[in-house]
Subunit: 123 residues, 2 copies
Amino acid sequence: MRIFNHSTAETHRASDVEVARWEQFGIGNAMPFGAMWYTVPAGATTSPDRHPEMELSVVVAGCGAVRAGDSVSIVAAGDAFLIDGDETHLVHNLSPDPLLVFSAYWLVERNAVGPRGEVASDA
Amino acid sequence: MRIFNHSTAETHRASDVEVARWEQFGIGNAMPFGAMWYTVPAGATTSPDRHPEMELSVVVAGCGAVRAGDSVSIVAAGDAFLIDGDETHLVHNLSPDPLLVFSAYWLVERNAVGPRGEVASDA
């Protein structure tokens, strides 16, 4: 078993958002996806993002509004949202506390999973 | 974008544990892993589980003790734990509230990701 502790993970800032990428754990070959946590401060919004990977995000704490294309949805702790490859998206924190999200992302080629063990590092 | 709402998902009970498997969303082919939420009541412990799939669990709410093999670790909301294939594991809820976990699981063959799009349904 391996434990990944959110509160002690190394993070970097991307504008207002604190990002902890799982490359730091050196387990990329064991997982069919890349992963990260990100934290959006109260009232803040992530920069619009777009990448070829599909991305599944699970809200761990807080409540937010997710925009993807022309669609906006409200998500709360426990909910998840799946962003298609090349779908522009952003997340706005609606809660008075930090919005914490766990995301997994992977490349899809012609509706199939990418090459064995391939994970992306630039989602 | 697709939203997966934890509070409205269909669940079934496996002893004390409430399980919401993502097969109900019909997106298995889009993801390189199977997924579920599970909820452990206050003070309860899951049955020991063992399956060939690796399993990455993200704690969404609560605090628990995870046993895998001879190792026990404490995990809280935001933390994650990775169980190897065929590693016997169980989770005990240490918090006074339900322990909510999101899990992703996938088959690994000889340290490589399984066949394209293959996800397991019996993790």
